[in-house]
C-alpha cells in the first residue's frame, strides 16, 4: 500500500479536509482546514479533488518519508520545504520517489502549511469527513495530531496532475499586519457607538491563546450597551466575531463550538478567513467593514480563477 511514514510530527500536524458538515445541529463542530483555499490549491496541484484530505502543519512542519512514488505539493505557510535536503518550491507539484524524505527547515511566512499527496490521505471517513476534531478525538489519523512512527495511507491517484504551478496572482501574501474585512453582525446593535468605532479603528494583536477554535484578539475593549453582553445561546458560523464581557473580540475558526452565548458583533468574510488563519500570535490586524455584495464578488472571482487554472 502507498504510505507516508512520519519521522517527526512538527508542532501540530493534523489530517484535514473541507470539514464535517451536517452534524452541527447535534453540537458537532465542523473542523476542517483553517485555510480552505490553500487546501484546495494543494489538492489541485497533485490532481486530487479540491476537498481531499491533506496534512495541515502548524508553525513547524513534519519530517516524512515516502514508501511509494507520488506527487506532493505544499501551499499556505512557507516552512522552507526540502526533499532529500534539497529545497523545493512552494505552490508547485513535485515528484517524490520511494525512500525520499520531505522535511521543513523554518517558517518564512504564514502559520499553516498544507501538504497534499496524489490520491489524498485515505484515513477512514468519520461522519462524512476525514478532518481531525482533536477535542473529541474524532476523524483524521486516530482522532489525534500526528506522532513519530505513524504511517499514513494514501489513496489511489486520480491521474497525472494537469496543473504544475499555481498562477502568481492566486498566491496570497502573508504579512504580519493585515486588513481583515468584516460584515456587520446580528448583534452589532448591542454595542455603544463608541464601541463599534473602536472595533473598526483599533489595531488588534493576535494573542497566544489563538488556536483552531478561535482567534482571540487584544486591543482597546469594545463597550457593550448596559446589560447587553449575552444573548440566548445561538448558532455561530465560520468567522463569527463574538465579544465577551471583557470587550476583547474572538473570531471563531474551524473547531468553533456550534453555538455561543456572546453578542456577535461582526463576521469575517470567507475570502479573508484564509488570511486570518495564516496569522501568528503577535501579528497585527485592522478590521474594515464591507458589504455582502462585495464579499460575494470576491468569492466568485476567486472561484473562477481556481476553475481557470485547473
Amino acid at each position: 500500500m502507498a504510505t507516508v511514514i512520519v519521522h517527526k510530527a512538527g508542532l501540530l500536524t493534523t489530517v484535514q479536509d473541507r470539514g464535517r458538515y451536517g452534524y452541527q445541529r447535534y453540537g458537532m463542530p465542523v473542523s476542517g482546514a483553517m485555510d480552505v483555499f490553500s487546501l484546495e490549491l494543494a489538492n489541485l496541484l497533485v490532481g486530487n479533488d479540491s476537498g481531499d484530505a491533506c496534512l495541515e502543519a502548524t508553525i513547524s512542519g513534519p519530517d516524512l518519508e515516502f514508501t511509494c512514488a507520488t506527487w506532493v505539493a505544499i501551499t499556505g505557510a512557507d516552512m522552507e520545504p526540502h526533499l532529500n535536503d534539497r529545497g523545493i518550491p512552494m505552490n508547485t507539484a513535485v515528484d517524490a520517489r520511494p525512500g525520499d524524505t520531505l522535511g521543513f527547515r523554518g517558517l518564512r511566512s504564514g502559520c499553516r502549511a498544507y501538504i497534499a499527496f496524489a490520491g489524498g490521505i485515505a484515513v477512514q471517513s468519520v461522519m462524512g469527513s476525514r478532518s481531525t476534531y482533536l477535542r473529541a478525538g474524532i476523524g483524521g489519523f486516530q482522532g489525534r495530531a500526528l506522532m513519530p512512527g505513524d504511517e499514513l495511507p494514501l489513496g489511489e491517484p486520480l491521474g497525472k496532475p494537469r496543473l504544475k504551478k499555481i498562477p502568481e496572482g492566486l498566491i496570497a501574501e502573508y504579512k504580519h499586519e493585515q486588513t481583515i474585512r468584516v460584515i456587520s453582525g446580528p448583534e452589532a446593535h448591542y454595542f455603544e457607538i463608541a464601541g463599534l468605532r473602536s472595533f473598526l479603528s483599533t489595531e488588534y494583536t493576535v494573542t497566544v491563546q489563538s488556536d483552531r477554535m478561535g482567534y482571540r484578539l487584544s486591543g482597546e475593549p469594545i463597550r457593550h450597551k448596559e446589560g447587553m453582553t449575552n444573548i440566548i445561546s445561538a448558532g455561530t458560523s465560520l468567522g463569527t466575531v463574538q465579544v465577551p464581557g471583557d470587550g476583547q473580540p474572538i473570531s471563531l475558526m474551524a473547531d468553533r463550538q456550534t453555538s455561543g452565548g456572546y453578542a456577535r458583533i461582526a463576521n469575517v468574510i470567507t475570502a479573508d478567513l484564509t488570511l486570518l488563519a495564516q496569522m501568528r500570535p503577535g501579528d497585527k490586524i485592522h478590521l474594515k467593514e464591507t458589504t455582502l455584495d462585495i464579499a460575494k464578488q470576491i468569492c466568485i472571482s476567486r472561484q473562477q480563477a481556481l476553475l481557470d487554472c485547473n
Binding site: 452534524y23 452541527q24 440566548i232 445561546s233 448558532g235 455561530t236 465560520l238 453555538s259 463576521n267 455582502l292
Partner: protein, 243 residues
C-alpha cells in the same frame, strides 16, 4: 399558535439567520424546528448545514455555489407559513439514571440547598419531561427545559477538572447530561449508562432537538446491566410518543 414574524439576518457571507422570536419558549422553538424540517425537505443547492437553536435557525451555505439574494428569496418562500408545517409527534426518550453515591456526589448538597431529602430530589427530577430545545456546547450536549425549580441549585464555586461522560447535573434552573468526559461546574446528582454520542453507531446522536427526556431511577445492578448492553451495542433505547 400566535402569528410569528420572522427576521432574516446575515451572519457573514456564508450563513443566514432566521430569527423566530426573542424569548426562550416552546412555541418559538417549535417554529424553529418547523422551519428546519421544511428547509431540509427543500434541499436547496449550496446550503450545507443548519444550526437550530432556542429562537433561531442558522442556514449555512457555500457562497461560491449560491448567491445570498437567491438564497434569501428561497428561504422567504419556504418560511411563508410556518404554522402550516406539520412535524411528526414528539418522542419521549427514557433515560435511566443511577442517582447519588459515587455517580452523583452532589445529590445531598442539592437536597440540603433546597431543604429536601435526597429521595425527594430524585422524585422531582424524574417527574417532569424535559424538552430538548437545542444541542450545542459539546457534541451531543442538550439544552433542556422543564426542570422543576424546587431542585434548582447554583453551580459549584470551583469547577471539577474531570467529569465522567453520562453525568447528570443541575446548574441553576437547568438540568443536563455530560456527553463526554470534560471539566465542569454542574452539581452532579447521578449518571446514565447511555451514550449520548457514538460516531460508530447509527444514528450517532441519542437526542435530537424536539425530543423530550424523561429520567428514571435505576439501581446499581440495573445500571451495570444497561451499561454492558450499551457497550455490546444491543441496548434498545426506550422511546414513547409524548402524550
Amino acid at each position: 399558535m400566535t402569528e410569528v414574524t420572522l427576521k432574516y439576518i446575515p451572519s457573514g457571507d456564508s450563513a443566514f439567520i432566521i430569527k423566530a422570536g426573542d424569548v426562550i419558549s416552546e412555541e418559538v422553538n417549535l417554529v424553529v424546528r418547523k422551519l428546519l424540517a421544511r428547509l431540509e425537505e427543500e434541499n436547496i443547492p449550496g446550503v450545507i448545514d443548519f444550526i437550530p437553536s432556542y429562537n433561531e435557525l442558522m442556514v449555512c451555505y457555500d457562497p461560491a455555489k449560491i448567491g445570498y439574494r437567491r438564497l434569501l428569496e428561497t428561504l422567504r418562500a419556504c418560511a411563508a407559513d410556518p404554522a402550516a408545517i406539520l412535524l411528526p409527534a414528539p418522542q419521549v426518550v427514557h433515560v435511566p439514571v443511577l442517582y447519588g453515591g459515587e455517580a452523583g456526589p452532589d445529590l445531598n448538597h442539592v437536597a440540603e440547598h433546597n431543604r429536601l431529602a435526597a429521595p425527594d430530589v430524585i422524585t422531582i427530577h424524574t417527574s417532569a419531561d424535559c424538552l430538548v430545545y437545542m444541542l450545542g456546547f459539546t457534541p451531543g450536549f442538550c439544552y433542556l427545559g422543564g426542570m422543576d425549580k424546587r431542585i434548582a441549585t447554583p453551580r459549584q464555586e470551583t469547577p471539577r477538572l474531570k467529569i465522567p461522560a453520562g453525568s447528570v447535573g443541575i446548574a441553576a434552573e437547568q438540568t443536563g447530561i455530560y456527553p463526554m468526559e470534560s471539566p465542569g461546574g454542574w452539581q452532579l446528582i447521578g449518571r446514565t449508562p447511555l451514550r449520548l454520542f457514538n460516531p460508530d453507531s447509527n444514528p450517532e446522536f441519542l437526542f435530537s432537538a424536539g425530543d423530550y427526556i424523561r429520567f428514571y431511577s435505576v439501581d446499581k445492578d440495573e445500571y451495570e446491566r444497561i451499561a454492558a448492553a450499551v457497550a455490546e451495542g444491543t441496548y434498545q433505547v426506550i422511546r414513547t410518543p409524548k402524550e
